[in-house]
Amino acid sequence: MEIKVLKNILSANDEIAERNHALLEKNNVFAVNIMASPGAGKTSLILETIRRLKDKIRIGVIEGDITSSVDAEKVGKEGVPVVQINTGGGCHLDANMIQTALVNMALDDIDLLLIENVGNLVCPAEFTIGDHKKVLVSSTPEGHDKPFKYPLMFHTVDVVLLNKIDLKPYLDFDLETFSQAVKGINEKVEVFPISCTSGQGIDRWLSWLLIQMGRKP
């Protein structure tokens, strides 16, 4: 006997993600899912964001890594609450891991939750976690053809931060081709060239973020 099922394999994950989202909403916490390749600058972006915003809003961080707590320690030094998730080989954060992490985060004490996903452009695009906005940190050394190689990731996010723009003079990186490819597959996405080292473009990112949170930039 054949039974028609037609059920999304990730539906169990999606249901937990919806519960995470509801919990964040209830506590007035705005959550941002930060995704990127390894080494693109996720942690640098988080550190820069904390340094520039911590006098304005209360920030918490969830650090997702395959192993180690190096990033969590760096972030902890900025004086904000951090919860570390070690996926133990897992290539992405899933809704269940975030659900557990949220239990350990004092949601009453924060307005903004920055979630650093595992460095990977494939799997994090498929697993919802309950965030409000999705950020992709891409970087100039990775090349301008990344959108063509990882269409689902570029299609999924709300903003693309092109990091290490200060290195562009030394690289064969075509900003026009990159931006066109990103916009081609994601009409609504914003693309901001930034540098966490020189500070270029960070203000635009922070303005965008504050506007999404319903605050004055």
Binding site: I3, V5, K7, L10, C123
Partner: protein, 113 residues
């Protein structure tokens, strides 16, 4: 890369549906998998064979229907199959698209007895 987690979720769905139907044995599972999903079929079969031990799905086969990645041109509305490293429309040549197919990842049906 995440086939173990996906296979476990898939098996949960399959076992739940089979139980609901009062099935004694699951013979086969049909999955629909979009080309844009990062999904390696061989790994799924491998994990499946491992995870089904001592369940009513032991020995069941898994088959896949691949769904090609398709897009709709935002300029002329033509729907076309996406090529790698290119999203220009074969009709009008513009390269602004809306993905229509290829993200699928679901259990289509199961065969039980």
């Amino acid at each position: 890369m995440h086939e173990l987690a996906i296979t476990q979720s898939m098996l949960d769905i399959v076992l739940e549906q089979a139980e609901r139907a009062g099935a004694e044995r699951i013979l086969s599972v049909k999955l629909s998998v979009g080309d844009l999903s990062g999904f390696v079929e061989e790994s799924v079969q491998f994990y499946f064979d491992f995870l089904v031990k001592d369940t009513i799905a032991e020995g069941a086969s898994v088959s896949f229907t691949r769904v090609p990645a398709k897009a709709r041109c935002r300029n002329c509305a033509r729907v076309f199959t996406l090529k790698e490293f290119d999203w220009s429309c074969p009709g009008c040549g513009r390269d602004s698209i809306e993905i229509t197919d290829g993200k699928e990842l679901f259990v289509e049906s199961i065969e039980v007895e």
